[in-house]
Symmetry: C2
């Protein structure tokens, strides 16, 4: 029974953070929303920081798992689109982190290095994918072009949810992930050779 309340607190907090923004949520609002007493909430979590930490850890585990792309494999363009889709889904599920990113990382400074580690893992994953595409002869980039491209993919992925939500701030729930996948795939397109380029254009358009 105790475990259940704990999970309900986490789920409700995540929902509130995502919809109204973490800086605007208090523990009182969370307990109100759950119709439990502040004391009951305090029994499980001593502060909002503890809740944020636990949610961040869940996100971290999920994402780090996803980002460990096998280095030797031949990654197809379809694999890559699926990969992007899954990462975008995870980001959208924990979008409160991204919507108030600088703010959250400034206030919870123990999360800074962990977030940077995730960013580096994202960039690494893009590099592994790009290198696989190069090995398969689908594109040919100089090293510095490849790293600029991967940084750009990383930036786009990091801010897509926030950029997208600018068009419907009244409803932070809606996020068009498909357009995010399109936008990242599209970064790759001009570097690909003939057929692969057409394939990516067709695939990324299907996401619109």
């Amino acid at each position: 029974m105790k475990i259940k309340t704990r999970d309900r607190i986490l789920n409700t907090s995540l929902e509130l953070f995502n919809t109204v923004g973490e800086p605007n949520v208090t523990t009182l609002l969370i307990s109100d929303e759950l119709e439990i007493s502040p004391g009951n909430l305090y029994y499980h979590f001593k502060s909002k920081a503890e809740i944020v930490n636990e949610l961040f850890a869940a996100y971290e585990t999920e994402l780090m798992d996803m980002l460990s792309v096998p280095e030797e494999a031949d990654i197809s363009l379809d694999d890559q689109a699926l990969f992007l889709h899954l990462v975008f889904e995870a980001i959208a599920r924990f979008r409160f982190i991204y919507q108030d990113l600088v703010n959250i990382l400034t206030r919870y400074d123990n999360l800074q290095n962990r977030f940077r580690r995730i960013l580096r893992a994202k960039e690494k994953a893009f590099i592994v994918i790009a290198e696989s595409l190069q090995r398969q002869g689908l594109m040919q980039l100089a090293d510095h072009e490849l790293s600029a491209l991967c940084e750009q993919m990383c930036l786009t992925m990091t801010y897509w949810v926030s950029f997208e939500s600018l068009s419907h701030l009244d409803n932070r729930d809606e996020t068009d992930l498909g357009r995010g996948v399109f936008q990242v795939m599209n970064l790759l397109a001009p570097y690909l050779t003939g057929t692969a380029r057409q394939q990516v254009v067709a695939m990324s358009e299907a996401y619109l």
Copy 2:
């Protein structure tokens, strides 16, 4: 004399917003920093919202001015780099808006439409520039490629300062604008024809 205090309040608020984040600044902190009484501050601004509004208006005027790119002109790649540099400078000067973007726009909802108007003007400016490059034969994109590219430039410009500050959150003062210019110019590079492409690569590398 009254005008002077008013300006000092605005300057100090801008500095505080930029360095510690707008959500973390109170009017009390502002008056403390200025060593004036809260009553004196209240005489000039009835709330933090009024200060935010006035700073936003200053940013808006500056940027909208910059973004009205002449539609008929032949825009060189040098012009474009200079344009990017100036816009990045303005964004950096008012970076508090961008660092807590979703948060600020959610709490000050009168700013939402105004911010969207700026975003649209940015995208429009990129389209005017891209169309000029096309007219000069420097690149050839289909309409949908051109609009995806311009949206991507817009996203990168909007979030560059925030992305960049992730690498040194301890000091929100530092921002490497040159790398932002590089990153946006670089988005264009793969679409340009031979010489223009080399020129952009050389130019954007000079920014590193």
